[in-house]
């Protein structure tokens, strides 16, 4: 039987799903990227392969997320697409009538508006990481709270503290101030969750008409505190799918299915060596950083050139 692999390599976590011809998830996995996408993808594929029945053959591979290009090369993927498309397609396969997708990931957040299954508008956070998962996790570390317990702790609070929502630097100084005047931990945590929501709606969601059904996904969607404040502030129901963290991977797997040919992919990549070597060109004062990608010591691609000097492999 045919199956298709979708991998979403984010800044914080690497997600993978394998689907069958009916877009049903056969197996999935979620692991930390730990700053090394190649190693984490190898690990991920190993897990997926061990859970996969022998009767399936992989007919397509798609990659998305910030390391999509590199991993796309490594796996010889037939589809390499940006996260926005992947998330929209993935969500549409489960909720065909979705109108708004709120997504907060590790280093970026986005909003996607849809109408009749077509993306009509989207926005992504711009310059800073305010209101993203990495801010939450760094604050959890500061408060010495496990990130998994963060949401539950927030739910206990009846009196969330007010924290500046615009900028992480201000948020952090607010946070310290509140802690030093003796607020309870749960109130501070709840305030943080609320500030994430306000920040998201003020920056990414600025000027966008949020219509229900609203779906919330990305790693932060697992945080019940953030979910609660989204519901409260938007004054509408916000759906979080049990697989909300896998939507990008699911979407890209579906896209890879659509583009699949008869090629059969091998998932034995554990022993493939994959290196990136960087040199500074020095040919002109642009001094481009030329990245050379080697697979099994064979040069397969060159990135980073602004001119034609390094265009040939």
């Amino acid at each position: 039987m045919n199956c298709y692999l979708g991998i979403d390599i984010g800044s914080i976590s690497t997600k993978g799903v394998i689907i069958d011809d009916n877009n049903k998830i056969i197996t999935s996995s979620y692991i930390w990227t730990e700053g090394n996408p190649v190693t984490s993808v190898k690990k991920l594929i190993n897990i997926l392969k061990n859970n996969l029945d022998k009767k399936y053959v992989v007919k397509g591979i798609g990659t998305t997320g910030s390391a999509r290009k590199l991993i796309g090369l490594l796996l010889d993927a037939n589809v390499v697409k940006n996260e926005i498309m992947a998330h929209a397609i993935g969500t549409l396969s489960i909720y065909p009538d979705v109108k708004t997708i709120l997504e907060i990931g590790g280093q970026d957040s986005k909003i996607i508006l849809l109408n009749n299954g077509i993306i009509t508008d989207y926005a992504m956070n711009t310059l800073c990481a305010a209101g993203t998962g990495s801010f939450l996790s760094s604050q959890a570390k500061r408060l010495n709270i496990n990130i998994e317990d963060f949401g539950n702790l927030a739910l206990k609070s009846n009196n969330p503290v007010k924290i500046a929502a615009r900028c992480t630097v201000f948020a952090e100084s607010d946070l310290i101030h509140k802690a030093q005047v003796g607020y309870k931990k749960e109130d501070i945590v709840a305030g943080l969750c609320k500030s994430i929501v306000l920040n998201y709606l003020n920056n990414v969601g600025k000027g966008k008409k949020i219509k229900s059904p609203v779906i919330f996904q990305g790693g932060v969607s697992k945080n019940l505190g953030v979910l609660k404040y989204f519901k409260e502030i938007l004054n509408t129901d916000v759906i979080v799918d049990p697989n909300s963290h896998l939507m990008g991977a699911l979407g890209i797997a579906i896209l890879s299915k659509k583009n699949s040919s008869n090629k059969i992919y091998d998932l034995n990549i554990q022993d493939v060596s994959f290196d990136t070597k960087a040199i500074d060109c020095g040919g002109c004062s642009n001094n481009c950083e030329i990245l050379r990608i080697y697979k099994d010591n064979k040069l397969i691609d060159i990135w980073g050139n602004r001119c034609d000097k390094y265009i040939k492999i």
Binding site: S66, K81, N82, I119, K209, S285, N286
Partner: protein, 344 residues
């Protein structure tokens, strides 16, 4: 700024007896130099032009020319002069525009000081040729932007453009220039293109420098062309120098519903163009500006309103001296996917 150094050099080399130094093309080093000596929160073109000035001074330039006006641009030349003098460079900076106006008498005196033999009749004659040259270049560029995404042989537009500019820089009378322009326009139209009847069309608007200097917008137009998109851009030097006032007047009249008074720099024009693009049923609009560009920040809520009234997708980019290129590519790619999906 783009290819406009060619007419600028043409004009100067014909009217004054001085060696004209063409600064090196903007590279990462230019930006680094400029940012190092600029206030951090100044708009990005300041950093780019300051970097270029430093590079020109290093090459031996003794006279620099700057314009100014419209917005914060009006303070550029005084501030840049001060920064460069503090750095110890010895030079003279000619600011052609003061108080938002080009005073001919003042400019005449300035040129006379550089070159005592300067002849005003000759000056005006070459100014006329240069004005036409800019006009023709912009007309050709407009055609190129609409079609370059569909060229069959790679670089055929770029190569012909280079050839044409080279010929332009050698003309010596307006008729000669006109004949060349006509000839090359025909040549451009003969370039082999594969353009579907209903291709995707995107309008690019925003702040002038970021729009016109490809290095500062990370070659956005090139990227769009690679997706096979027809591009429309209104801002060019011909507009800025010769048609600005007329356009703003027209803008106020045609988009009365959205604005009442003139806004700074090109904000009013951009609002009008947004409406125009929406009326013409473009598939999407891209608004780009340098960070902290105040007039454009003022225009954005209105542009947003128009786009949502017409249900045309719009995306905003704000570039600073060191924006991550990968992030821009992801957003552009997604924008392309979206407008293509909307088409279907």
């Amino acid at each position: 700024m783009g290819n406009y150094y060619i007419p600028a050099k043409y004009l100067l080399s014909h009217i004054v007896d001085a060696e004209i130094i063409i600064p090196p093309f903007i590279t990462a080093k230019t930006v680094e130099l400029g940012s190092k000596y600029s206030p951090d929160f100044v708009c990005t073109p300041f950093k780019y032009t300051l970097g270029t000035m430093i590079e020109s001074l290093e090459q031996g330039a003794s006279i620099l020319i700057q314009f100014g006006g419209g917005c914060r641009y009006g303070y550029y030349s005084e501030l840049q002069e001060q920064i460069l003098k503090d750095l110890g460079y010895k030079f003279e900076l000619l600011n052609l525009i003061t108080n938002g106006k080009a005073n001919i008498k003042r400019i005449y005196k300035m040129i006379k000081r550089i070159d005592k033999k300067f002849n005003i009749i000759k000056g005006l004659y070459y100014l006329y040729i240069t004005k036409n040259m800019v006009k023709y270049m912009d007309k050709i560029d407009d055609y190129v932007r609409k079609n370059i995404g569909f060229e069959v042989n790679k670089n055929s537009f770029d190569n012909l453009n280079k050839e044409m500019l080279d010929r332009f820089s050698k003309v010596n009378n307006p008729i000669n220039l006109y004949v060349l322009y006509k000839k090359y326009f025909r040549k451009f139209k003969k370039i082999n293109i594969k353009k579907p009847k209903k291709c995707l069309k995107v309008g690019v608007i925003g702040e002038l420098y970021t729009l016109m200097e490809p290095f500062s917008n990370y070659y956005l137009e090139k990227e769009l062309a690679s997706f096979n998109i027809e591009i429309k851009r209104f801002t060019n030097v011909n507009y800025l120098l010769f048609k600005n006032k007329k356009t703003i007047k027209k803008a106020l009249k045609k988009s009365k519903k959205y604005m009442k008074y003139k806004m700074g720099a090109d904000a009013s024009s951009n609002i009008y163009w947004t409406k125009y693009l929406c009326d013409k049923k473009y598939d999407g609009i891209i608004h780009i500006k340098s960070s902290f560009c105040t007039p454009e920040i003022g225009s954005m809520p209105i542009i947003d309103k128009i786009a949502s009234n017409y249900n045309v997708p719009i995306i905003y980019f704000s570039f600073d001296a060191n924006t991550s290129e990968v992030g821009i590519k992801t957003r552009l790619e997604a924008f392309y996917d979206m407008i293509e999906m909307r088409r279907q």
